[in-house]
Subunit: 126 residues, 2 copies
DNA sequence: ATCAAACCTAACGTCAAGTAGAGATTGTAT
DNA sequence: ATACAATCTCTACTTGACGTTAGGTTTGAT
């Protein structure tokens, strides 16, 4: 498929795909003759994974440093120790984040309850 | 305390504090004579809360719309219904985020295990 | 053959969240 | 009194993550 279809399927703009390519996040499987980019289904999966990692708060740079883990076959993986360090750092960060989010979630609930109470009171007084 | 001390204690630059002030995120408790900003301990707590909310992925705009919940007394809360909507939206977003993070955490663990296995294998072969 | 749709590169624009610099004023230590 | 550190305002620059515009090929359908 070419860039337009990929963009539509991944729900990103083709400019975003160009941009990701410059950052080394995904490369077309082919650039034949005219220079058109051609992609296979893995590209789509990569884009979906990138979106997922973005939602988790990773920067595109951070994503670039781990994305290949999801797609490279074992034999092709370079610098495994380096990757391991990145992963363990990422795990700590994630744990902290989950903890904070859980607390935040509790705060929200508390505030929702408070708001509802206040609204009810205000209406009662009217 | 003045801006320098506050900045140091909250571990942000004084520029950032100026910037937050422009966004309405915190205001000095005083601007006497020369125009120097003076802050109390609540300002520090506000900055810490802002940092915490930022880590959760809220934008400064979003933070501005909820921060007062943490500091205003009940009587001062404006637009309670509006705030309630914001909070409920935020709760849904948070729930989604927690779910995704938990899955991500599992993926990381899986990848850590894989890396360790590969590293062990590589060392075994040597 | 032609013509619109899809593609290309390259350069400039934008928005959030700051950072940096200039030039002026104020506070404090000697 | 003078230096020098801290602060002030204001403007401009930076970075990340794209979007927009311009001008030029390529391809597919008629």
């Amino acid at each position: 498929m070419q860039i337009g279809e990929l963009a539509a399927r991944a729900d990103v703009s083709h400019r975003t795909i160009h941009y990701y390519e410059r950052l080394g996040l995904l490369t077309p499987s082919e650039r034949e003759g005219a220079g058109y980019r051609y992609y296979n289904d893995e590209a789509l999966k990569r884009l979906e994974k990138i979106a997922a990692l973005k939602r988790l708060g990773l920067s595109l740079d951070e994503i670039a440093s781990v994305i290949d883990l999801y797609f490279e076959d074992d034999s092709g993986i370079r610098g495994k120790e380096r990757v391991l360090v990145i992963l363990e750092t990422q795990r700590e960060k994630t744990d902290r984040q989950i903890k904070e989010l859980t607390q935040f979630r509790r705060d929200i609930d508390k505030n929702i309850a408070r708001m509802k109470r206040l609204i009810a009171e205000a209406k009662g007084k009217r």
